[in-house]
């Protein structure tokens, strides 16, 4: 068993190296097709290997800097799958596809570093790597993307700067900057510097995960970026930032959970209301999904705010669920955008123009609104249950009210999609179709039978909290 673990770990590392090599090959030889096949195959292998390690419950610190345990393995697998879906979306739609595999490779290294971090420095480096590569990806399609790229880069830089500042305040108390609670003496609670550091961490992660006061960049960047990269921003980058947030707060600051729990509860409420209420007013579907993903970040935060094992489990579940749902939704938005269908009015009669796309988008939206038996419902059920079980009944009520508000803007899209009108049919791109089918399968199967995913999330959350 031990031997297999070490070999598989080495295999994952060499696959990641292979991703970079593929990227370089693809970039210099303009090898679109081969670059795609190689990078997709490597990502699938990474996902399979880390899932296997997760199943055998492998746990070890490798090379002194990479911590392999159920939490990190789960997210390495998730990030590999999410990246694979984004890769498929990009293949037939991005103009300069051969440039992308290299950037995808570096982003994946960033995500891998965050998920497997042993010290906060690795989280820092990972997030930075991800932000910079993503801003290049936004820029790839041409000059009209500059605005979005610059906004993303500037806000990302500010977040990194705040992160560094917060790190520096932590240094006197923990010279190694380790991601472990034991190194901070629990007797020194109430030291102002640590609380300030914690506040700065909240701000830094607030930018990356788009929490309410820090989320003003989101709609512009999401709308301005090419949609395959928007899918990546919402389904990959944001989830990496959430993982970083969970690691920092549940490992380093767990002794201060009563303080950060309240802050996160307030931020969750504000984020949910902001996202949902502004989404009500949107006419452009891509922008609507951008605001809806802000609201969804608020739901994820509900679980983190409870600062309990159950809440963390629920948050992990919802991070996985939302990653799939939003990539699926943006896949359809991406494909329709290439047919010049953008606003809610343009979606009229989509049901008769391409029935499959309409049904799939409906399933994604119902899932995001939390309608059973879809995966979003299972996630929200866990989230709000965890809030009630930690005594935050009001938070649960507000969350439920918010998921009620969200049904209105999804209903607007549905109303317009299912207006019967015979127009010419439109055909869905194959790669988009594959992505959509995968996501629909995940949303329905794990919605009807969520138990496997819940138990994986429970294992991961127990691993990070060190309880069994």
């Amino acid at each position: 068993m031990f031997q297999i673990g070490v070999y598989l770990f080495g295999f994952i590392i060499s696959c990641i190296a292979g991703l970079i090599a593929t990227g370089i090959y693809s970039y210099f030889f303009k090898a679109k097709r081969n670059g795609f096949i190689l990078s997709a195959a490597l990502l699938i292998l990474i996902a399979i290997a880390s899932s296997y390690l997760l199943v055998i419950n492998y746990s070890m610190v490798e090379l002194g800097i990479i911590r392999i345990y159920p939490f990190s393995l789960l997210f390495v697998a998730l990030f590999a799958i999410a990246m694979l879906l984004v890769n498929m979306l990009s293949y037939s739609n991005a103009k300069d596809y051969p440039d992308l595999p290299l950037l995808f490779g570096f982003s994946f290294i960033g995500a891998f570093a965050v998920a497997t971090a042993v010290s906060i420095l690795a989280v820092f480096v990972g997030l930075e790597l991800l932000t910079i590569t993503t801003s290049f990806m936004i820029l790839l399609e041409g000059k009209h993307r500059i605005e979005a790229a610059v906004k993303f880069f500037l806000l990302g830089s500010i977040s990194i700067a705040i992160f560094a500042f917060a790190l520096s305040m932590l240094l006197p108390y923990d010279g190694q900057l380790a991601l472990a609670a034991a190194t901070i003496n629990p007797n020194i609670t109430g030291i102002l510097l640590l609380l300030i550091s914690m506040g700065l961490f909240i701000a830094a992660f607030g930018f990356d995960t788009a929490l309410f006061p820090f989320n003003l960049w989101v709609p512009d960047v999401y709308e301005g970026a090419p949609t395959n990269i928007t899918a990546m921003l919402a389904g990959f980058n944001k989830k990496v930032a959430f993982v970083a947030m969970i690691e920092v707060f549940f490992l380093v600051f767990f002794a201060y959970r009563s303080s950060f729990s309240e802050v996160f509860a307030v931020l969750a409420v504000l984020t949910m209301f902001f996202g949902n209420l502004v989404a009500l007013a949107q006419k452009n579907v891509k922008r609507m999904f951008a605001y809806s993903s802000i609201a969804q970040a608020g739901y994820i935060l509900v679980g983190i705010a409870t600062a309990s094992q159950l809440g963390l489990e629920a948050s992990i579940f919802y991070i996985i669920a939302h990653s799939f749902m939003i990539i699926g939704a943006f896949a359809i938005v991406l494909w329709l955008e290439s047919k010049n269908i953008k606003s809610i009015d343009d979606y009229t009669a989509l049901g008769s123009r391409n029935r499959f796309a309409a049904i799939a988008l409906t399933i994604f939206m119902l899932s995001m609104a939390g309608i059973p038996p879809l995966i979003g419902f299972a996630g929200k059920f866990l989230l709000f249950s965890s809030a009630i079980s930690s005594g935050m009944v009001l938070l649960a009520i507000i969350g439920i009210i918010n998921s009620f508000i969200s049904i209105y803007y999804y209903a607007k899209v549905m109303n317009s999609m299912y207006t019967m009108k015979d127009e010419k049919k439109i055909k869905m791109d194959h790669y988009v179709m594959v992505v959509v089918i995968i996501v629909v399968a995940v949303v329905i199967l794990f919605g009807i039978y969520p138990q496997p995913m819940i138990s994986i999330a429970a294992t991961a959350s127990k691993a990070i909290l060190g309880v069994s």
């Binding site: 049901g351 119902l366 609104a369 309608i371 059973p372 038996p373 419902f377 299972a378 059920f381 866990l382 709000f384 249950s385 009630i388 079980s389 009944v393 649960a396 009520i397 439920i400 009210i401 998921s403 009620f404 049904i407 209105y408 209903a411 607007k412 549905m414 109303n415 299912y418 207006t419 019967m420 039978y449 969520p450 138990q451 819940i454 138990s455 429970a458």
Partner: protein, 472 residues
């Protein structure tokens, strides 16, 4: 004899029908859905017959689901759920067979009926609040698409309105279920476990749960201040949509109310206020009803009147009131489905639903008109129809609980009956002038009338088939 997992079979059949209906073309999909509703109706009736023979009914099935949360897919059939299953399976069969008067969108309507059938079977057999919630939302979504895609001109606004009210109800339901789960000492979703341990919840928390769940079920039923979605939803829905909406979907809320009153001891202390609300709801709706000119709207408002009366029976809390309400749900589900089918046929034959524009329908469509008259009589509880038994039981229970005032809401039913008499004499029985006919009644609609009427009369003439099981 090997015990078949009957409930599981009844749940799998609509799922299979849904998949087949999506894969097949329109006419085949229609046959599939008629078959699946017929099979479910026969299974339900076989359960009914075996319960008559054995003198009791109690089936329960349990399947593992989310084990880490203690959530099981628990199903049970007791007398109440059996009665509602009979009602829903008959209404679904009649809807699938004859509801599509407009003869369009066979495929879509078949798929949505299959989804709704799944919801109805699952909800009425649920032994577990989690299961109850899941099937509740499936039913709401199926009904939303039924209005949204199959209705008439203003269907979009009506469907959105319906969805907002119903999703608010289901949000409250979810909240209530979670509160119950965490407030009961045993942390369970199982209805019987909650019923036995709910007395241990402090009164303040019980009141909170009661108010939240009451709000959810009240929107669905609907009762007076929350009924605004119903008239528009009915007017804009297709005939099939109206039959299922009024016949079955409104019973979701009433079924939930029955469960809520049996579950929480605190509900007894609210019963007087709720009875007043129910009476207000019935009278309010009947005063709106007598100003309507569209037959479909009239029948839609009659649903609110009937649901007010049913709520009165539930709030009485005694055996007569409760089983009267159950019987009234059976009777109302069958009659209102029949009435909406008739209205759909009349609209199809004469192209008109306004009571002042319809003249002398008895000459052109005698079957439909006479059955409309019988349906109207069944609606106000004429002897020999199931409505009579329902009203007798219900008002006995109401008088037992609230004294003489308990019988006052009967006036709303009588006023409704008087107005229906006016409608019939004004627009149907006049022989001097006729409306123009556009089409004729097809045989499948006649079979639909027959099926619904058969059950209305069978439970009116032989109510003891059910009442012997409960021994009141």
């Amino acid at each position: 004899m090997i015990m078949l997992p009957l409930i599981l079979i009844m749940l799998v059949i609509p799922i299979a029908a849904l998949v087949l209906a999506i894969l097949m073309n329109g006419t085949k999909a229609r046959k599939v859905i008629i078959g699946s509703t017929l099979i479910n109706m026969l299974i339900t009736l076989s359960i009914f017959v075996s319960s008559i023979l054995s003198g009791s009914v109690s089936i329960s099935e349990q399947y593992p689901y989310i084990s880490s949360f203690g959530v099981y897919l628990g199903f049970r059939i007791n007398v109440i759920s059996m009665v509602l299953l009979i009602m829903s399976s008959v209404v679904l069969f009649a809807t699938a067979l004859s509801g599509n008067v407009e003869k369009e969108h066979h495929k879509l309507s078949s798929a949505l009926i299959a989804l709704f059938q799944l919801a109805a079977v699952g909800l009425f057999t649920s032994a577990n609040l989690f299961v109850f919630f899941i099937f509740w939302d499936i039913g709401v979504i199926a009904m939303f698409f039924m209005i949204n895609m199959l209705g008439s001109a203003n269907r979009k606004a009506a469907a959105t309105n319906f969805l907002i009210y119903e999703i608010f109800a289901s949000s409250m339901l979810l909240l209530g279920i979670m509160l119950i789960y965490f407030f009961t000492p045993v942390h369970s979703f199982d209805i019987s476990v909650i019923t036995s341990s709910a007395a241990l919840i402090p009164a303040g928390k019980q009141s909170l749960i009661f108010i939240v769940l009451f709000l959810a079920f009240m929107i669905n039923m609907p009762l007076f201040p929350m009924h605004f979605w119903l008239p528009d939803a009915h007017t804009e829905a297709s005939t099939q949509g109206s039959m299922l909406l009024s016949g079955i979907l409104t019973k979701f809320g009433a079924f939930g109310m029955l469960m809520l009153f049996a579950m929480l001891p605190i509900s007894a202390s609210y019963s007087v206020y709720i009875a007043v609300l129910a009476a207000v709801s019935a009278f309010y709706a009947v005063f709106l009803l007598i100003h309507q000119t569209d037959i479909k709207r009239i029948i839609a408002y009659s649903t609110i009147v009937e649901m007010g009366v049913i709520m009165l029976g539930i709030s009485a809390g005694n055996a007569f009131g409760t089983y009267g309400a159950v019987f009234a749900m059976l009777s109302h589900g069958l009659t209102v489905a029949l009435m909406f089918l008739l209205v759909g046929v009349i609209k199809h034959i004469f192209g008109e639903r306004n009571i002042f524009a319809l003249k002398g329908t008895v000459m052109k469509a005698p079957y439909t008109t006479y059955i409309f008259i019988i349906g109207a009589l069944a609606m106000i509880g004429f002897p020999l129809t199931s409505g009579f038994i329902a009203d007798v039981l219900l008002f006995i229970g109401s008088v037992q609980a609230f004294g003489v005032f308990g019988v006052v809401p009967l006036a709303a039913l009588l006023l409704m009956g008087a107005f229906l008499y006016y409608v019939i004499s004004k627009s149907m029985l006049s022989s001097k002038e006729y409306s123009k006919t556009v089409d004729y009644v097809a045989i499948e609609q006649k079979i639909g009338y027959g099926v619904l009427l058969f059950f209305i009369f069978i439970y009116g003439i032989l109510p003891f088939a059910i009442l012997n099981l409960v021994k009141i």
